[in-house]
Symmetry: C2
Subunit: 196 residues, 2 copies
């Protein structure tokens, strides 16, 4: 279970990736462009150490973070006072239907098995108001395949295949970004809108 | 010939596309991230109305623009005083070997036939110093195919196929970006480095 795996390596992860300094400037632009078009509260779903949550809060977004790993939430609360963080699962969010204007799912579904990924995607759809936004960051592959992520097994998705799952959960995929860099895993982002 | 085609529709093009307001924020981030890592003078090769040239100049880059269409250069000089613009062809640049630390080729090779695209790419390699940068913006396709661009015939390239041409011209491709949006043509960018 990924929360346990992340607990074990949380400090290492926080040091390596838990800061906006470690973020590619193009990822920042993708998230900022998406967030700029939202209205209403935003959930950083699977927020990890909370650096994206804090980044959005600093830009005036009414945002809170949720993560399954208590160590991440503990760190996020301490590093980013004034921002709300909760322990919780993206498979079952403690939020009312349509509560959010946007959901950021930044590499938070990468450990879900293909037959289980619809659970968080449907949960995102449930808590997003019609017309609201979803941004999904993920690892890109030419075929759907697992790989040994530093923390625990993760999956690469062809962008079109993940887009079909997101669409089936109730979102229109309106923009697909990919980036492949020498010596790094290929990544992607789907910018989506909740259907009415 | 694309210069003549662009001359005929230059004013229309300038109004629709000749401003940074018309630029996707993610494209801006791609160009800015690339430019931030350069040293030495930069050429905006096929600069059109000169808005990217001006954008880079405003960020402190020592940049000049060149375009084959005199109407674009005339507009650029008038709209962006203080920035140098010349009429010229990317197939044969009026510059010394290794003169530049970077070349921005933003959708400027889209009208080259596949058998002719090596000409500007080799010319970019000639005028770029070893270790210098090249950023190529282009239309992405699943296969190499022509399409009816508003101005004159253009080509869609699979990113990997264009990357092979760029590599053959003397550059390492270090990062590939793609973006596909509902109702728009898919676009890409290759971030490249001149081999020594």
């Amino acid at each position: 279970m990924s929360a346990i795996a992340y607990e074990a390596r949380a400090d290492e992860y926080i040091t390596a990736l838990g800061s906006m300094d470690a973020v590619h400037p193009v990822d920042r632009a993708i998230v900022d462009a998406w967030a700029g078009g939202l209205s209403g509260p935003v959930l950083d779903a699977g927020c990890g150490p909370g650096h994206w949550t804090r980044h959005l809060a600093d830009r005036g977004v009414d945002v809170r973070g949720v993560d399954l790993a208590p160590r991440f939430v503990e760190h996020a609360r301490s590093a980013h006072p004034g921002v709300r963080f909760d322990v919780g699962s993206i498979d079952g969010l403690d939020a009312a239907d349509g509560a959010f204007g946007g959901i950021l799912s930044w590499f938070s579904t990468i450990h879900h098995e293909p037959e289980e990924i619809s659970t968080p995607l449907r949960e995102f759809a449930r808590v997003t108001r019609p017309g609201g936004g979803l941004l999904v960051g993920f690892f890109v592959g030419t075929s759907l395949e697992p790989f040994d992520h530093a923390v625990t097994r993760a999956w690469r998705w062809p962008a079109g295949e993940l887009a079909r799952r997101v669409d089936a959960a109730g979102f229109d995929v309106i923009e697909t970004h990919t980036r492949e860099a020498r010596g790094e895993r290929a990544v992607g982002a789907l910018r989506c809108e909740r259907r009415a």
